[in-house]
């Protein structure tokens, strides 16, 4: 088992390298002018160019890339933000909490609402509950999170004044963002849970259980759900990736200082080191989460456990 974990962690490395290359390449298309950004409008052109040279901005792509990697891997030096002139990870770590809080809250709500309703829908297929859930879920999944966020702000912050509309002062600030992401993702969770459950219920072993005289409730939970849970968990984890992306836009709506806003501003201002650091960090966390999920999978499904122990 340990070997499997280590193997998976090692596999993350090429992925992270790839991510770095991708972002590096994209940012290199329009490199921007960090010298100017750091020194400001009034600095002389020579000073700017001198600084750019110092920063190594004018070196060829490959040199820059390799040097970046070298510093990152061997010195754990990811550079300094062009905007703040601070080591990038200061910013990243400061903001990571907010982003992950938003994302986790979102997925929490989506799961707590979507999965039970999805199960109910599947068990009572074609009933009124099922039809209602399906329609609502499809509607919810079609709602753009940023729009929902603004509507929620309008109702709950502006009109009712119950909740704050921006910032991260209190736990209350995280409620509206949670609902903003939670509702659309609850919609997709519901649909996905429903279809997985339906497929599982059709399996032969469920028929065997019924022929044994096992009560319906036990069949649902012990036989169907335990098997359906595995793909559900995987798909939930995968959509977490989308959630992280959604969090980016949500942060914008609610003016919350998270990784998303860091990346967006960084991209706008060509603050390449910040963008790189934040994206690599996100990719890394995402990879770790997928690994954890796979481990859970291995623990729950005896067939997979057998493959990886010893």
């Amino acid at each position: 088992m340990l070997r499997y974990v280590i193997k998976r962690l090692l596999l993350l490395i090429p992925v992270l390298l790839g991510v770095t290359l991708i972002i590096f390449t994209i940012m290199a298309i329009q490199p921007g002018d960090p010298g100017r950004m750091i020194l400001g409008e009034n600095a002389s052109q020579e000073a700017v160019e001198k600084l750019n040279d110092q920063l190594g901005v004018n070196r060829p792509f490959v040199v820059r890339f390799v040097s970046y990697l070298y510093n990152a891997v061997f010195k754990l030096d990811f550079g300094k933000s062009y905007r703040t002139s601070q080591p990038v990870f200061n910013d990243v770590f400061a903001r990571a909490g907010t982003s992950f809080k938003i994302a986790f809250n979102g997925i929490f709500m989506a799961t707590v609402v979507g999965i039970p309703l999805g199960i109910l829908s599947a068990v009572k297929q074609y009933s009124a509950v099922d039809t209602f859930s399906r329609v609502t879920a499809m509607l919810a999944a079609a709602i753009p999170p940023f729009w929902l966020g603004m509507m929620l702000i309008f109702v709950f912050a502006l009109k009712m004044q119950w909740l704050p509309s921006n910032g991260i002062e209190s736990w209350k600030s995280f409620i509206l963002p949670m609902v903003t992401l939670g509702i659309p993702y609850a919609g997709s969770q519901l649909r996905m849970t429903r279809s997985t459950m339906l497929e599982t219920i059709r399996q032969d072993y469920v028929r065997t259980a019924k022929a044994k005289g096992v009560p319906q409730g036990i069949i649902i939970f012990r036989h169907a759900l335990r098997n359906a849970l595995l793909p559900i968990i995987t798909i939930t984890a995968t959509s977490f990736g989308g959630l992280l992306g959604g969090a980016v836009i949500t942060e914008s709506v609610f003016s919350m200082p998270g990784l998303g806003t860091l990346i967006v501003t960084g991209i706008r201002q060509r603050d390449t080191p910040s963008v790189l650091a934040a994206t690599i960090f996100l990719a890394f966390m995402f990879g770790v989460i997928m690994l954890v999920v796979d481990l859970i999978y291995a623990f729950v499904d005896p067939r997979i456990k057998a493959k990886y122990s010893r």
Binding site: Y126, Q203, D204, Y205, R207, T208, A209, K210, A211, K212, G213, V214, P215, I218, R222, H223, R226, N227, V300, D301, P302, R303, A306
Partner: protein, 326 residues
């Protein structure tokens, strides 16, 4: 009254979807004594599995409908008892069913012992303790020839034949009066098939269980069954003691076709001799005798009138060829 364990009378089952009605079973009647075994033979699509599912009321909800008919067991009509009773008393306890594909019949995430225990736990009128149930699980495993040490293994750790033994163990755990086996050996290779059948035979003798053996393999029927019922297009075209079916000179043309299509080891032929044509569309059954489009002895009356039954002792044939003679 009757010494019959199971009496099926005029059972009619159809599948209903939005566009069409599939007439799967069209008025079949047969019965079974305690300890007896009947082979239900026919091609795929004849309605054999539907019959079996109907007895246990396992048809898909809303889609599978029992149009009419009676299934008597213990002087009770199984079609009319409440679902709770069906589940608590009959399924898994008085009547057990095993299915065709052992690979998918077992829950992959539960231990084999747990799955056997489940049958016992939900039919635990004597309030056996957990310990007693465990003992019974081990007994059942040994009964089917699996060492009890494998109680905590998962299904994927067993081979196909052993999986089917586990399935049989589950079915027999509560010592049912009737076992319905839907092509239990079709998915297994021939040598394993022989083993499983032999084991089933032994267990039946030991426990006195009646058996409905659904199969398309006449060889199995000869080996295992006391009676045979030949099913075609949802009807029983011929039924009788196994000797009558295999040795009598009177047969329904379909049965003749079935026997005729078995290749003979001793005779050299160039081509197989199948029965010409296809089974009829169950949403659009032909008028008169359902077999008439394919029957080599078809006459005018066959196309117009549905045949009655010719009875010769225990041997019954539904064909104009014989009813006319009377």
């Amino acid at each position: 009254m009757s010494d019959k364990l199971l009496e099926v009378k005029d059972l009619c089952v159809s599948y209903r979807s939005n566009d069409e009605v599939v007439h799967a079973v069209n008025g079949i009647s047969f019965d079974l004594r305690a300890g007896e075994s009947i082979g239900l033979v026919g091609e795929t699509g004849a309605g054999k599995t539907t019959t079996a599912l109907s007895i246990l009321r396992l048809l898909p909800e809303k889609i599978g409908v029992v149009d009419r008919g009676v299934v008597m067991m213990n002087s009770k009509n199984l079609m009319e008892i409440p679902e709770v009773e069906m589940r608590d008393v009959y399924r898994g306890e008085q009547i057990s069913m095993i299915f065709q594909d052992p690979m998918t019949s077992l829950n992959p995430v539960l231990r084999v012992g747990e799955q056997i225990a489940e049958a016992l736990i939900y039919h635990n009128k004597e309030k056996k303790s957990r310990h007693e149930i465990e003992k019974r699980v081990e007994e059942t495993l040994e009964l089917v020839g699996i060492p009890k040490s494998r109680k905590n293994d998962y299904p994927h750790q067993f081979s196909g034949g052993m999986k089917q033994r586990v399935v049989i163990a589950i079915a027999l755990a509560c010592e049912p009066d009737l076992l319905i086996a839907d092509e239990p050996t079709t998915a297994l290779d021939v040598t394993i098939q022989a083993q499983v059948l032999a084991m089933m035979g032994e267990l039946r003798e030991k426990l006195g269980t009646s058996l409905i053996m659904i199969t398309h393999d006449l060889g199995i029927v000869a080996q295992v069954c006391d009676k045979v019922a030949v099913m075609y297009a949802g009807e029983l075209v011929e039924q009788g003691p196994v000797e009558a079916i295999f040795e009598s000179d009177k047969h329904h043309p379909y049965t003749q076709g079935l026997f005729g299509s078995i290749p003979n080891l001793n005779v050299e032929t160039e081509r197989l001799s199948p029965i010409e044509g296809l089974i009829p569309d169950p949403t659009d059954l032909p008028k008169g005798c359902y077999f008439s489009p394919r029957c080599p002895h078809c006459r005018d009356i066959c196309r117009k009138e549905h045949p009655g039954e010719y009875v010769d002792g225990q041997h019954r044939i539904a064909c104009h060829l014989f009813t006319g003679e009377k």
